[in-house]
Each structure stands twice: as structure tokens, then as C-alpha cells.
Symmetry: C2
Subunit: 330 residues, 2 copies
């Protein structure tokens, strides 16, 4: 295929590998490079023909790349990498610290404007597709409420928090929506829900031999911010069970908008969007890649600066022409 969009991946964890695989499902995209802060020689990817460069070489390679997809973490990597890279590349990132999006946007926008590039931040499913659903729901049904439920799925942050407890060898935390709460929303009851009423937390923990399990459990369920506001269950398992039953990273959730229309505000209307993901990072990667396609097109059209999923005409996510989209999907 000619005119492929040349994609590079910066950071090679679960998300980077997801992007690598997603590119294989999109013939209009071509993977041209990996960048890593580790020793490139030590990095084994699934694409032996694609060169791995040290991150120090990023700027020197800019001319070979249409869009750079940043696959680092939101806590430490992206706040630095996204603005630095947006100066030299069109970029996509999955920055997901909701409260810090405005400052991240400002930093990336300044760099992208200066460099004449397009940067799309906070892509994925939340922020990302779920944000888009919250926006559409609030526009269509202005007199209404929205509800976001997450899970059943692995929360990386909560799993990490458990691993930091003394005596814990490994841990996996599942966030689970409370079925009764979800049903109440679906029934149009417009409930006001506390954190505890919306989600429960299920923890699977491998402890060191001889560790005080009662103490570990207590430290988990009382942990501020992470667990104290939820009903949390802790199940101790063996490392074998962990590897056998908890290797995948499933996730998902629901965005619901309930509202009313009509002369007396008595007509109930409901919108529900749900995701059931076999792999959170692989799905997120698919969204990032669609965004990379959109970014490349926006750049070709002369745009610049920082964008979010709210700014992208949906047709830009597709490799198909407007005519074909109207004929086949409208």
C-alpha cells in the first residue's frame, strides 16, 4: 500500500506492544521504529525487522516519522515526554490523570504550536471513548445525569498499591461495578451513588510464606483513597494460581446518560455505552492508532496544536473516504 502513515512507538510495555499489534490490523499504517530509554539491544519486540533506537535519537529521526505514539505512564513519563516530543513530532498520548489534563494540554499545546505539529492527548477509552460518550450524552440530553461505571477489570494502580505492602509478593485488583446500582440507573431511578455503592474491589494476593495474612488484609481494606471507601474482598492465592488465572488484563465499563424530554419533562430517555475488553492495553492501543490516523490527516490539512478526541471529526479516524462512509455506514 502506498501512502502509508509511518508510525513510531516510544515506550515498549503492554501498551506499546498493543500498538505494535494493532498496526498489523491496519494496512494503511506502517511501523517504522521503536524508541526506548533502555538499552535498545536488550529490547526484544514482536517485530524483528523494525529498528529499535535509543530515545536520545528521537529528534534525529523525526523526518522518518509521521506520528509518534507515546506509550509511557501518566505519572512520570508523559508530563515530560509529550511536550518535549510535540515540538518535533505529531504525537498521540494516553495521558489519563483526569485532574491534570488542563495543565498537560497547555504544556503540549505550547510545544505543538511552536513546532507546527498536531498532538492528540488523553486518547484511549477513559479518558477517550467514555469521555466522548459523556460529551454526546450531555449535549443530546441536557436535562439529565450521567454515570460512569468501570469494570469488571484490573486496576493497575490498585494492584501496585497492594504490592507495596510488606509481605506481598504479587497482587491483582479487580474493580467491579455493583449490579444493583447499574440496574437502578438503567431503571431510570436517577440514584445518587457513593463510591461504595457504585463499585466493589476484589483483591487476589500472593503472600510471602509465613506472612501475617490478617495484617495484610487489614492494611489493604483500610488503605486511604485506594480501598477505605469501598467494600473490598481479599483472597490469598498461590503464585501458580496468579499466573494461571490472572495473567490477562481485562477491563471495561459503562457510561450511561439518563434524561428527560417533552412538554412536561416526563419522557424518559436513556443512552448506554458499554465496553467489554479482553485486554485493556490492546483496546487502548487500537484507539491510539485511530487517533494517530486522525492526527496525520489534521497535520496534512495544516492544523497544529493540542487536540483531544472532542476535536476530531469522526471520519478522520477512518481510512475510508467520506463518500464510502456515507454509503456504507451512515
Amino acid at each position: 500500500m502506498t501512502n502509508q502513515t509511518r508510525i513510531a512507538i516510544y515506550g515498549y510495555g503492554n501498551l506499546g506492544r498493543g500498538v505494535e499489534l494493532a498496526i498489523r490490523q491496519n494496512p494503511d499504517m506502517r511501523l517504522v521504529a521503536f524508541f526506548t530509554r533502555r538499552d535498545p539491544a536488550a529490547l526484544t519486540t514482536l517485530s524483528p525487522d523494525v529498528p529499535v533506537y535509543h530515545a536520545d535519537e528521537l529528534t534525529a529521526r523525526a523526518a522518518e516519522i509521521d506520528v509518534l505514539i507515546l506509550c509511557g505512564g501518566s505519572a512520570r513519563d508523559l508530563p515530560v515526554q509529550s511536550p518535549a516530543c510535540a515540538r518535533h513530532f505529531n504525537i498521540v498520548d494516553s495521558f489519563d490523570t483526569h485532574a491534570r489534563i488542563p495543565e498537560h494540554f497547555a504544556a503540549v499545546d505550547a510545544a505543538a504550536q511552536e513546532g507546527g505539529h498536531v498532538a492528540l492527548i488523553s486518547a484511549g477509552w477513559d479518558p477517550g471513548m467514555f469521555s466522548l460518550m459523556r460529551l454526546l450524552g450531555s449535549c443530546i440530553l441536557p436535562e439529565g445525569r450521567d454515570y460512569t461505571f468501570w469494570g469488571r477489570g484490573v486496576s493497575q494502580g490498585h494492584s501496585d498499591a497492594i504490592r507495596r505492602i510488606e509481605g506481598v509478593v504479587d497482587a491483582r485488583q479487580y474493580t467491579v461495578p455493583v449490579e444493583a446500582a447499574l440496574e437502578s440507573v438503567r431503571a431510570g431511578e436517577n440514584p445518587t451513588l457513593t463510591a461504595r455503592q457504585k463499585h466493589t474491589r476484589e483483591c487476589f494476593v500472593v503472600a510471602q510464606e509465613g506472612a501475617d495474612l490478617k495484617r495484610i488484609e487489614r492494611e489493604i481494606v483500610t488503605m486511604p483513597n485506594y480501598f477505605d471507601e469501598y467494600d473490598t474482598t481479599v483472597t490469598f492465592i498461590t503464585m501458580e494460581e496468579m499466573k494461571r488465572d490472572h495473567a490477562a488484563l481485562p477491563h471495561g465499563g459503562f457510561v450511561l446518560r439518563t434524561g428527560v424530554t417533552g412538554s412536561d419533562g416526563q419522557t424518559p430517555q436513556m443512552i448506554e455505552y458499554g465496553l467489554k475488553l479482553g485486554s485493556n492495553p490492546e483496546f487502548t492501543a487500537c484507539v491510539l492508532l485511530c487517533c494517530a490516523r486522525a492526527v496525520a490527516r489534521m497535520h496534512r490539512e495544516g492544523m497544529k496544536g493540542c487536540k483531544t478526541i472532542f476535536d476530531v471529526p469522526p471520519a478522520y479516524f477512518s481510512p475510508k473516504s467520506g463518500e464510502e462512509l456515507r454509503r456504507t455506514l451512515l
Copy 2:
């Protein structure tokens, strides 16, 4: 509120009334006129302060209107009205004859380009929000299938078809998704489904006194295109029951995208979008109004020509600033 968008409604049936009511929920919008092909003096709206003009006056009033929302039917009204009006106004329509969208687009685009206006066609929920979900699903999960189910809801076209049968006084037809088919899709079984396997049709019929009910039932269930490919049930009811139990126009449905990701294509991923609408025309009207907001903004930014929901940056549907949307909804 200053800088309100001035909306006019052309055609005053269920959809026109829905737009009239939706404007009351959106303080940035103002209803400035109704247009009708009937005698304006004979039209009683819910907004006695808003003038009703004959359609002949449309062109003369163009300067008073930012966006004209066309609320006529797709069979006879919109193919003529939309191109004619797009020459003089920014317009939104809900043209829903899927097979004829390309030619409708071409006719409206030519008129809008010539007049320097923006026209958004085929807005609503299908075509409209469902189309958007089909597009997003196919972009995110290119190796996958999509499924659209409609209902439970009233099909106006099928109800009308029954009313044309001799001996029928009134009729209401509900399209109902087959639960087993929906569950099979949700279970990731990727079924291939016939029309009969996806939907059933429930008909409620008021017959003339003394009419041959067996003949009416036979004529319904064997009617080509409308019923012969479906499992159809016919229930005869009284006019009282019709008025009491079937006055509302509920509808809804589901768009599902099932796909796979990963190195071996073995990771299942599923996206589901569902609508449960107390009133089909009132919800459609809400979507049209969001589109009118977007059209007004696109026109202010100097765009022209025919657009669809695929071409609109989602932020344009909202009265809020990009900064506020990022802070509150992303």
C-alpha cells in the same frame, strides 16, 4: 442570554414539536419562527409567541434565521426541501432513507456550496448516533463485525402499511429485537443472522366492525418486504385500548461491534451502544438541535457545503468551551 442561535422549524408534526420542546432545554438556542405548507392561521403550536409563516415566505425571512431545521418526511418532503432550503439557509435534516443518502448528499451539497451555507443531513439516531457508533466501532476494531438491532419500538412505516389494508381503522407495529440473537452477539459468538432471527414484529390492530379478521391477519403476515421475512404476531384491540396503551412512540436499539486484537487474534473485545427512548421523535429532535448548534459554528468558521455527523468535531455539539469540556468531561 446574548448570542443565541436563532432556530426556525419547517414542518410541524411530531418531530417539529420535539424540536420546539428541545429548544426550551437549551438556553443558547432561540426559536424564532415556524414554517408550514398548511394555512399558518390553522396551526396551533405550543409556542404562541413564535410566529408561524407560510413556507412561501421562507426566502424572505432568511436573514432572521441562523439555522433552519427541516422536520418533514424522507419520502416526499426532504428530497425537495433540503436542496431548496440549503441555497438560502444553514439547514439540518433527518433524511433517513439509507440507500438514497448519496444522492441526497450530492443534491444538498451542490445547493449549500452555491449558497455558501452549511447543511447537515441524516441527523438523528439511525441514521445519526447509530451511524457514528458503527463508524467508531469499525475504526477501533477493524477485525470485527457489527450488528444493529432496533426496538422495542414503533415503526411508523410498518404501522402505515397495515393501515392501508381494507378493514383496518388503526394500527401500531412494534419492532422487537430477538433476545436470543442479542445474547449470542454479546457472548461473542459472531452469529450470522437472518432478518427473521434478528427481529420479530408485533402488530396491534383496530378493525372495522364486522371485518374479516382472519383475512386481515393473513394480509399482514404475508405482506412482501414489510412482514413476510419476519415472525409476526397480530393482536386485535379496541380503539380505546389503542388510545390508552399505544399513544407513545417509544423506540431504541443496539449497535454492537465485536472484534479481536492481539498477536494471535484471540483477544475478544466488544463495544455496545444502546438507546432506550421514551419518545423517538423527541430524542431525534434533541440530536437535530445539537447538530444545529454545530452547523451554526461551522458556518461562523467559514465552512460550507453538505456535512454529516461523521464530519462534526464532537465539541461543536456543545455550548461549552473546549477548556470547560476538557476540565469536566474528558
